[in-house]
Symmetry: C2
Subunit: 407 residues, 2 copies
């Protein structure tokens, strides 16, 4: 089933009932493009968060982590693009907290009920005078129910070539539930600004015990993509749960809970794939399917390692079904694999098995790797765990963009 059949690509985080969202330009970006975004809910929200594992993390990430640890109900998030507020010292922390405070005041929300995200260049202090004007204006518009300059998903973009937003509605016995979300990130270009930010909202009330489900979904979506192997200082994924549907997760039947989890995962996965597909330097989208691993962690580690290999990625760019590079990369990933048990396929075509190449028809292979999207399946013969990793190729454009962009 294609995305367009399952998801409504015309809606953003405001789609679930009870949420408002929007964006505008407050002047942080010299280009005059939108750079300020806000989600606000009339009622209290439960929020689940996942953040960059980078030891070097930005001030807004620290503020979000602290607030989520304290717990309690939330009312929304304010996000800016154009400046990451990273490597900005104590001043950066003060600025991030002030952004949240400005949003809370503008929307009449409780103190400490807003989260904050930033994306953009690092090492520069935020121009707070612009935010002190912009945030009250945006907050007031949301509270008044006015249409904002641009949708939320446009105002968080940096080097993204297009907004990435999806929504869907589920029908349960007790009523309808909506999920929607958007993300920014394009990995391949200007990666100093390539923070991954994702915002997902739902009007189904989720219990705190949903946390492990959320972590698993993030692992299988955003943590399953790799563009260049580097993580950003600002990566953040937030799931906001309100009660606009009048339904709670615990009220759903087991089958309904499963459908909700599956839909939520599909939405996260589609957002994650959207980031890989939006790499400007990227010419191909490749799914590495690691199968028969000892553990899920091993499968993901191997998938990420191979998907991240410069030799494998350049071969894909060159339409080269180079099993040798894939096998060699697998072998150097620090996991114990057995080449004699390993099978490598391009889509359905086996190219390596029993320790030797199988010499399938070259034209068939070339047709597969010549395509825009294909799968490389790696069967390890070690166990029954599996993982998928999504990546793109490594092109001239990648080098050009990353070499020519300067601080």
């Amino acid at each position: 089933m294609s995305v367009s059949e399952r998801f409504d690509t015309s809606v953003g985080p405001e789609y679930p009932r009870g949420f408002r969202a929007g964006g505008l330009n407050c002047g942080l970006k010299a280009s005059g493009k939108p750079d300020l975004a806000m989600i606000w809910a009339e009622g209290g929200l439960r929020v689940f968060g996942a953040f960059t594992r980078n030891c070097v993390f930005a001030a807004p990430v620290q503020v979000c982590r602290e607030r989520l640890e304290w717990g309690g109900k939330f009312r929304g998030v304010v996000a800016n693009s154009g400046n990451a507020n990273a490597c900005t010292g104590e001043q950066g922390l003060c600025d991030a907290r002030e952004m949240a405070t400005l949003a809370e005041r503008a929307t009449g929300s409780e103190e400490g009920s807003f989260l904050v995200c930033s994306t953009g260049v690092i090492g520069h202090p935020l121009d707070m005078s612009l935010l002190r004007a912009g945030i009250p204006k945006l907050g007031a518009a949301l509270v008044a129910g006015e249409k904002t300059e641009v949708p939320f998903q446009r105002a968080i973009m940096t080097t993204d070539t297009r907004p990435k937003n999806f929504g869907l509605e589920l029908e349960f016995a007790g009523g309808r539930v909506r999920i929607a979300g958007c993300c920014k990130g394009a990995g391949m270009i200007h990666p100093d600004m390539a923070t991954l930010l994702a915002f997902v909202t739902t009007d189904l009330e989720l219990p705190q015990s949903f946390e492990p489900e959320f972590k698993a979904i993030v692992d299988d979506s955003f943590n399953s993509i790799t563009v260049d192997g580097d993580t950003s200082t600002n990566d953040t994924a937030l799931l906001f749960s309100g009660n606009g549907s009048g339904l709670s997760y615990e009220q759903l039947g087991l089958e309904e809970q499963g459908r909700f989890r599956e839909a939520l995962f599909s939405l996260f996965a589609e957002l994650a794939k959207g980031i890989v597909r939006d790499g400007e330097g990227a010419t191909k989208f490749v799914e590495f399917q690691v199968r028969q691993a000892e553990s899920r962690a091993q499968a993901r580690r191997l998938g990420r390692f191979v998907a991240n290999s410069k030799l494998v990625k350049t071969a894909i760019f060159g339409n080269d079904p180079n099993w040798g590079r894939i096998l060699s990369s697998l072998g150097s990933a620090g996991e114990k694999i057995d080449p004699a048990k390993t099978v490598i396929r391009f889509d359905d075509v086996v190219i390596f098995a029993s320790g030797e190449p199988t010499h399938p028809p070259m034209e068939e292979l070339r047709r597969i790797v010549g395509g825009k999207e294909f799968a490389i399946r790696i069967e390890l013969g070690l166990g029954s765990a599996q993982a998928d990793v999504w990546t793109c190729d490594l092109s001239y454009e990648y080098v050009k963009i990353n070499a020519e962009y300067t601080t």
Copy 2:
């Protein structure tokens, strides 16, 4: 001191007394370039070996490992280029053993006294008929003391643009000792063929207890370079010790032993740097100096991770002193670092300290990163361990070569 002052670049593995070495073309390479090489010694040799850590390793690597484990004295090594004899199954193992046997017979050496190395394309069986003609011819020439078609170091080249060979002589109270060596590998180009092979000979008799010294020297030289982070199926470094000087390591004074170890390390380091400098896609040579780490292992791991980052490497190619990418890469390496304690320098110029950029004069930075060789020093403030890692940049040429080369 420059290399030319310390090392004689006109000699190869035959320089230490008691060794003979040479090469010829036996027809494995369609180009007609030299592809067969041999080192042979009249007397018994002690051999120290280090091999690829890749789980996917070639047949000759397995044969070398087995023979070194069995121990005993050795007489030499036979190596071919043009075919890696990797992923060739049981037949590949038989072929590797037969290569050694052919060399033993041709030189009248004991059974099991030869080692074997291969480098070239993977997944293709060796053409043994060519080796059955070539090895006896080359062995006979060495035994007869005849000049061979080409020096050893030329016959092991694949995509190398030049041979990499160095020799030096040390004067001790008891006499003179010679060390010489050569290597092949160019990492940046046709990496399927970019096996690292290194052969070092010395006429100083070394005890078996020298093994830990050898491992440490390999770690600080060949394991301290990174071109693209992938390891080959065939990487091999061998140190051959004979007694042509009439001296043994144990006879040397403590200071003399230190000088020998230092000279041996310098030679290994120079061979390793030669591989980085010979990357055809490479336009710059960069030394990452990791200082104040908790342990040597941590320092090397961080150095390799950052040196291997696509974002850092493309920034270097673009003459961009991008401290943000370096810091962010450090943070995502899986080691606990503290940005507030971290100092980053380009040569002597501090660019990041106390958690913030220091804004040194841009023209000074551009002069440094615009050069062909410079150092990036990372002080972690965590301890007193250190490591150097040598690498090159990531250029258009790298993508071009690796995308256009097909199996």
